[in-house]
Every structure is written in structure tokens, then in C-alpha cells.
């Protein structure tokens, strides 16, 4: 018998009493979603900017100097680093800034949903030194239940909820922003 058959038959032989699967749950809208998202993100160490979307390039130039490498996957933001010609994900090492669209945000947790389709290289939001995520103020859901319903069970490409800059507290519980991933996270709500 294979390991699989042995494991499955061991479980089957126990003939455990059935227990009901609860219905999936949902909760009423919690109100001020924009405020909730901002608060959650700031609590996690992200910088949040509200902006109408016009002149975003100019706005970002206040935060990042023009001579650093910047990749933009967001319409209306001009970068100076391009994915054409990148073959291996490791070639992204050294990229300073990436401006990436997030599909939507979750007010309750500050989590922003990034899809592989929008990233090209899944490593992008992790390997870059400073991450800028742009999300529409209209695209905010209340909680994680609604978030998973919105994505749906058919999603098969890589997807990640990002809820802050990478961080660690493994040295005496001192919080250090910038562990392995980005040293900072800026979220533009437009």
C-alpha cells in the first residue's frame, strides 16, 4: 500500500462521528471604509496618501528622487525602469521603487490584494526596496469575508494580501521595518 492509501485508510477506519460544516459567514457593512483602511495601514507602518490621480508622477517625485530606479505599472505614472528585457526575476534586485496597482483594499485589516496578472513577476512587490501601491477609493471592502468572496474560488494565479512594509521583531521584540521585503510601503488612495 502506498503512503497515501495507508494514511487515508487509517482515517477511514476511525469512522469518526460527523460534525456539521457551518454556513459561510458575513457581517453587515462597518461604515467608513476609507477611514478604516487608512487607519489599518498606518497602524501597520505604511504611509497613506489621498490623491485624485492627476499628476501622480509629480506627487511621487516629492517622495522619491528622480535619479533612483523606478518601475511603474500604473497608468499616468512615468517610471525609468522597464520590464522589457527582464527574463529572470532575480534581475529585479536593486530596483528602488515599484508603483503597482492593487485590485482592492480591505478596511478591517489594511490588506491590499495584488494579483500575479498585474505584477508580471510575483517577486516584484517583495524584492523592490520601496513599494508604492495605488488603489481606488471605490475599491474597498469591509472585511476579509467580503474580500474572499470578491476574489472568488476560481482564482488560480498567485495572489497576495499586502498589509504593510516587511517587518520583524525577532530581536528582543524591537520592531524593525524592512526585513527581507520593502523598506517602506506607500499607499496612494485615488
Amino acid at each position: 500500500m502506498s503512503a497515501k492509501e495507508k494514511i487515508l485508510s487509517r482515517i477511514r477506519d476511525l469512522s469518526l462521528p460527523p460534525a456539521n460544516l457551518p454556513e459561510t459567514i458575513s457581517f453587515p457593512d462597518r461604515g467608513d471604509k476609507l477611514g478604516g483602511l487608512k487607519k489599518s495601514l498606518e497602524l501597520a507602518g505604511a504611509k497613506v496618501i489621498e490623491h485624485n490621480g492627476e499628476g501622480l508622477s509629480f506627487l511621487l517625485s516629492n517622495y522619491f528622487s528622480a535619479n533612483v530606479s523606478m518601475l511603474s505599472l500604473v497608468n499616468g505614472v512615468q517610471g525609468n525602469f522597464f520590464l522589457e528585457g527582464i527574463n529572470q526575476p532575480g534581475e529585479l534586485e536593486g530596483l528602488e521603487v515599484a508603483v503597482i496597482p492593487a485590485a482592492f483594499g480591505v478596511a478591517e485589516t489594511g490588506a491590499l490584494w495584488l494579483k500575479e496578472e498585474a505584477l508580471t513577476f510575483p517577486v516584484l512587490p517583495f524584492i523592490v526596496q520601496h513599494l508604492v501601491l495605488v488603489v481606488s477609493k471605490e475599491a474597498i471592502v469591509s472585511d476579509m469575508h467580503e474580500a474572499y468572496r470578491r476574489i472568488g474560488p476560481m482564482h488560480r494565479n498567485f495572489g497576495v494580501f499586502v498589509a504593510g512594509p516587511s517587518k520583524t521583531a525577532d530581536i528582543e521584540q524591537s520592531v524593525v521595518i524592512g526585513a527581507h521585503g520593502p523598506l517602506s510601503l506607500t499607499v496612494v488612495l485615488k
Binding site: S2, A3, K4, I7, L8, I11, R12, L14, L16, P17, P18, A19, N20, L21, P22, T24, I25, A44, P89, G90, E93, E108, T109, G110, A111, F121, P122, V123, F126, I127, D143, M144, E146, A147, Y148, R149, P153, H155, R156, F158, V160, F161, V162, A163, G164, S166, K167, T168, A169, D170, I171, E172, Q173, S174, V176, G178, A179, H180, G181, P182
Partner: protein, 454 residues
């Protein structure tokens, strides 16, 4: 050695023990703040518990469903009955591709399987990439906490270790400086690694995919750069539906660290173009635990660590005193199922205060199970002889009013003359405890003097 002896070694350094206690309590308080924001917290716990209960009740069906969906997605699925099979599967995957270096993110299962030792004996370099795990790997120690692996170490020791291993400035103990040094060192490893191994927080039967949660981003740095991704999971990590993730992502980090959610919650369903994705389903004693009616629900555990942070015994005895992969209250009900003799002292390493059960996000009745294990251990004759003698004596004295009165007046009398008489090496229970002052008079004597006066 049992837990009491190991704990007294930890307590020998009183300052550190106090720091450890207070730091973990601070994490517990953060958990309270985070859960306090969620008005439906208790409902979430009940639903999470019921989902796990249901999944465990028909785990064979869900494993089958999960495997067939994972295969459809292009994941190569492996099954391992025990630690040895798991380790050989990992080695086999690496050997076929002639890979000699593996970057790993946190996986308690691979600690349980002693994968690192096995791979290193077979010529594979293993690099733990979670900062805390890298620290303990440098120190040649196991993690002392499942969420905060290096919580037992002070920054001075980490600074010394990094000076030796990474060439950081001697005496520089700044946490940011040390973290940046590790970041640079590990980036280099990520960029060179051909294979990355991760654990699994949740696997979804409905979609055939799995979720990995980190704050550092180390799991993703590893797998998105490597040609081969290996994910190891215990068979109890399954949940039935995609939407169930809504429940579990809300409770995991809030319980563990007091964050609303981990900074990265990554969802994997298929290999990246040109990549191989392997998933290993491991039993290693889990089906045995599933068969134990009173201990079955310990398999609901999502490894948040909340029970450790709150436990008055864990906080004051340190993770190493348990000598088991998973320490603390949950470890004390899981480990005896793996080796009853070796871990027979763990269910006694508890005050049975029940705080672990109160904070558990999947409502495992941990303290009831600790009490149940104690009974089984005493029946198996694995209890401490001293404890047994005292229990017998106590049973006799408490059942006999005459001898009870004789003894209580003796204790009162002796303590008046020799105040330290009750603290002696024979009575290990008193080693780290201060006795309250013994009353000058027994209650019985007081009653006899005062009865009828009021």
C-alpha cells in the same frame, strides 16, 4: 530530565526569566487589544472551531478532494507517513535537480521532522530565512517559540553571534543595524537559491491551493526566485472552502502578535511558469492523535502561539524547558501523543488556570486535555514517584479527621519554631515558591475557642 529540572535551569538567570515573562505578557496584551476591536470575535472563534471540527471528522474526503484539485492546478503532490519519508521526499526532489542549497521559511513541521539535520548529513546546505530562525540556526539551537523563535535570546548575544557569523561591528546591538545585516546576507542567499521550502498555514480543499503567512516577506523572496518550491504540511492544515480563509486570516495574527493580519498573506495554486511546485502531505502521528477521542481537537491548532504567550508556566520556564518541537500548553497536549514516556512531565507543567483555552482562536479545550493526559500518565505509571507518594499521603490524611488534626497542629507548631521547615529539597514544589506565613492557630482551634460566643 523532566520539565521541572529544565525550568529551574532557565530560572537560574532571574533577570532574563523576568524579561521573558514580561515580554510575552506584552504580546498577550497586544492580542487583547487587537481582538477587542472585533465585536464578533467570539463568533469567529466558534465558527473557526466548528470548521476545523467538521474538517477533521471527514479528513479523508477533504484530503482526496484537495489532492485532485492540486493535481489539476499542476502541483506535484507527495504523501509521507512519517518524518523519515518526508525528509527523503525533500532530498529526492533536490537530488533529481542536483540542487545543493535550500532556503527555508518557517515550518514547524520540518522542525518536527528534523529535516535540517537530515539534509545537512546528505550534503545539502539549509538556510533558515526567518530572522529569528536564522539567529537560532547560527546559535545551533532549536526555536524556543513557534512564532518568535529567538525570544529566549538577548540582543547582546545576537550582536555577538552576528559579529562572528556576519562580520557586524563588535558590540553594536542596534536592532535595525543587525536586521539590515541579516537582510543583506539573506538577499544574497535568496538570489542564488534554486530551491525554496515553505510551510503551509492553510490548505483549501475546494481550490487545491494553500496560503503562507509571514511578516518579513521571506517565504515569498524564496519561492518567487527559486526554480523549485517545496511546501510541507501536516494533514490537519486543511480547510474545506475558499471562503473559510476569511475566518482564519482574521484570527491568526490577531491571536499571535496582535496585528490585524500578517503583512503578507500569499496564495499559491500553481507553479510559476518554468517552476516546479511540490507539496508534501505529512501524517507523522496525526492520524493516531485523530483516533484519540479526548485529544482529537488538539489537531485544530493553527499555530498562532497565543497559548504560549499567556501561559504563566511557559512565560516563566522558557520554550526549551519543554524539550519538544511545539512547547507551551498546546505542545504539552500534542507531544505526549508522540512519545508518552519522553514527554510525561509536560501535562504537569501547567497551573490548569485555563488561560490557554480562553485565548485559543479555535477553542481547543487545552487545559481539560492537560488534565486528561495527567490521568492517563498516572495510569501508565509514568508519573513522578514523589508526586505519587504525596498524593497517597494527602489522600489518607484528608480522609481521616483524626490524622488531619494531628498533622495540622504539628505544622503550625513546627513552623513557629522553624519557619523554613516546609521549604526543603524533598518538596520540589516549594523550590521557586514562597510559602504564605502559617497562621498562629489552626481554624479548628479558633473555632473551638470562639464557637457560641457571637
Amino acid at each position: 530530565m523532566g520539565h521541572p529540572e529544565e525550568a529551574s535551569r532557565f530560572l537560574a538567570n532571574a533577570d532574563r526569566a523576568k524579561w521573558h515573562d514580561q515580554t510575552l505578557w506584552m504580546v498577550r496584551q497586544k492580542r487583547d487589544v487587537a481582538t477587542g476591536f472585533v465585536s464578533e470575535w467570539e463568533e469567529l472563534r466558534s465558527v473557526a472551531s466548528a470548521i476545523k471540527e467538521h474538517t477533521l471528522s471527514r479528513l479523508d474526503d477533504y484530503l482526496t478532494e484537495f489532492e485532485s484539485n492540486a493535481l489539476l492546478n499542476g502541483i506535484k503532490v507527495h504523501w509521507a507517513e512519517n518524518a523519515d519519508e518526508h525528509n527523503r521526499i525533500v532530498l529526492g526532489i533536490l537530488s533529481r535537480r542536483k540542487i545543493d542549497t535550500l532556503v527555508k521559511s518557517k515550518s514547524i513541521l520540518t522542525e518536527e521532522c528534523h529535516l535540517n539535520d537530515f539534509l545537512q548529513e546528505n550534503g545539502i546546505e539549509v538556510i533558515d530565512t526567518d530572522l529569528g530562525e536564522r539567529i537560532v540556526q547560527f546559535a545551533k539551537q532549536p526555536p524556543s517559540h513557534i512564532v518568535m523563535p529567538a525570544i529566549h535570546m538577548k540582543r547582546g548575544e545576537i550582536s555577538e553571534l552576528f559579529h562572528e557569523k556576519l562580520g557586524t561591528e563588535k558590540g553594536n546591538e542596534d536592532a535595525t543595524y543587525l536586521t539590515r545585516a541579516a537582510r543583506k546576507h539573506l538577499r544574497d542567499k535568496f538570489l542564488k537559491a534554486k530551491a525554496a521550502l515553505t510551510g503551509v498555514n492553510f490548505a483549501i480543499a475546494e481550490t487545491g491551493g494553500f496560503v503562507v503567512c509571514t511578516n518579513e516577506g521571506n517565504a515569498d523572496m524564496g519561492v518567487h526566485l527559486a526554480d523549485v518550491h517545496i511546501a510541507s504540511m501536516g494533514i490537519e492544515k486543511l480547510i474545506p472552502r475558499w471562503e473559510d480563509l476569511g475566518v482564519f486570516t482574521r484570527i491568526l495574527a490577531r491571536s499571535g502578535t496582535g496585528q490585524a493580519i500578517t503583512n503578507y498573506t500569499s496564495h499559491f495554486h500553481k507553479p510559476r511558469k518554468g517552476q516546479e511546485l511540490h507539496l508534501i502531505l505529512v501524517d507523522n502521528g496525526r492520524t493516531k492523535q485523530l483516533g484519540r477521542e479526548h485529544f482529537r481537537s488538539s489537531l485544530k491548532c493553527i499555530r498562532c502561539g497565543a497559548c504560549m504567550n499567556t501561559c504563566p508556566v511557559y512565560r516563566r520556564s522558557g520554550g526549551f524547558s519543554y524539550k519538544s518541537t511545539v512547547p507551551g500548553p498546546i505542545g504539552s497536549i500534542l507531544s505526549p501523543g508522540i512519545d508518552l514516556k519522553k514527554y510525561s512531565s509536560l501535562p504537569f507543567a501547567s497551573s490548569l488556570c485555563g488561560s490557554c483555552s480562553d485565548v485559543c482562536p479555535v477553542k481547543i479545550n487545552i487545559h481539560d486535555q492537560l488534565y486528561r493526559w495527567r490521568q492517563e500518565i498516572m495510569q501508565h505509571n509514568n508519573g513522578q514517584v514523589q508526586g505519587k507518594i504525596f498524593s497517597r499521603m494527602a489522600g489518607f490524611l484528608l480522609a481521616s479527621p483524626f490524622w488531619y488534626r494531628v498533622l495540622s497542629s504539628m505544622v503550625t507548631g513546627i513552623s513557629k519554631v522553624f519557619p523554613g521547615a516546609l521549604k526543603n529539597s524533598f518538596l520540589v514544589w516549594g523550590n521557586q515558591r514562597e510559602f504564605p506565613p502559617v497562621p498562629r492557630q489552626t481554624f479548628r482551634d479558633w473555632f473551638d475557642q470562639n464557637a457560641g460566643k457571637g
